[in-house]
Amino acid sequence: MKKYIHTNIDQIRNDFPILKRKVNGQNLIYFDNAATSQTPQIVIDSITDYYSKYNSNIHRGVHFLSQEATDAYEKSRVKFQKHFNADNSYEIIFTSGTTHSINLVANGFKKILKKNDEIIISQLEHHSNIVPWQMLCEETGAKIKVIPIDNNGELIIDKFENLLNSKTKLVFVNHVSNALGIVNPIKHIIKKAHEFNAIVLVDGAQATPHMKIDVVDLDVDFYVTSTHKICGPTGVGILYGKEKWLNKIPPFLGGGEMIDQVTFEKSTYAGLPNKFEAGTPNISGVIASGIGIDYLNSIGIEEIYKYENELLEYATKKLLLIKDLKIYGFSTKKTSVISFNVGNIHPYDIGSILDKFGIATRTGQLCAQPIMDYFKIPGTIRVSFSFYNTKEEIDEFIKSLHKAILMLS
């Protein structure tokens, strides 16, 4: 049965042991959820459980423990297949994180791209969705084109459509901007890109914690995310790829697990998904990630979105009452992320003082320098809410923010 967050908030908060921590003598208020979400006890326990009861290498041993570990690992894959509505479980590849997933795909196109082919990315991208493509372009001679944003931080879709042409081979865009929290119209972007036979990779790291992703409905070619943002442990990423593309691109890492036959003359690769999972994977992490996604689904993504949206509206309203406070990124479709500055006060100064009050925020360029350059600012303070945060915490944050501004003005 799904939980209604409002009436179960105490119980939900109880599931996260870290929320009881004191920081600098104050109750921790964790508003850096866009960087990583906190981990419920049930996920932490699953890691202990793995090492206490069935730690062993997967896919290799005929022994009991290896079977048990392999079953749990593969069960996790099926959970993510169902969660993302992928056609086949082998279209879900486990990586070490979103960055690894993106690099895997970028590497895969080294031999496919030709000189003067074009890659489209957006001004909103995280550095991890810019640098791998720059590296790819350096090697192949392909060129990067950038979808610009408007003053509200929204992608200018007309400009994107103008960039598309027969030379466009790849389009990379995030589903939700990590710096501004704006939800991009990826379904439309994918449809338009496909009209030119371009392949689309969507960075979903900031979307998966807040909304249901259906890769079939989106018709997306690659969708990537990290499970530490969805109640899982750090060090596990998901790469969804359409079977035809995963078959087309070569393996990223060579080693055990990813091979079929090895002689010193030539090795042949294993099929999906093992082709992309060389070496011993993060077995406990993958299993725990599966428990994390179960936990999230036990509350329900739609309920989470609704609740977080209330927090977003509540905090936005309160913040806008503060003199000289400017919020970056306005859109009717936003996740629970607010990036802001107050007058000319440096974001680091406000972040440092808030930290002293036990409030965790993110400050600086947020790994998205092109956005900061666009707005001509050194960075922002970013608060990002999760379903275990409360309006009382927002009130406390606003109070502390007032004190910080007073100290710094």
């Binding site: 440096h346 680091y348 100064d349 002293k356 050194p378 004190k403 100290m407 710094l408």
Partner: protein, 142 residues
Amino acid sequence: MKIKQIQEELIDEFAMFDDWIQRYEYMIDLGKSLPLIDEKFKTDEYLVNGCQSKVWVKAELVDKQIVFKADSDAIISKGIIAILIRVFSHHEPNEIIKANTDFIDKIGLKDHLSPNRANGLSSMIKQLKLYALAYQTKINNE
């Protein structure tokens, strides 16, 4: 006044405060008395590496003593560099090179800074000492 004496003076001043808020406010106040670097020197050349906010420092040798000027785009960093300049400015290069920096721990500054800020603080000290080393080397070669 010797570097050591200025350090003790600062330790005494910070000991007057009971909580971190007052210490921060005092540090911010000290930032306001910082001898400012000329705007035209706010370039990459004078930027201290390792700070997340921008901190510029310039040194000059005046009557055998080093005179530091600085600025920052963040108020807390400005306070930190102001404290360091109060300690290290107007001393001969050798004294600056040899000075220890225990006073930082004694005024409880590091405890109150985030790890990133504390790294920035170390970078600032390193930069001031590097200036001193460069001037001392120049003097030795003359």
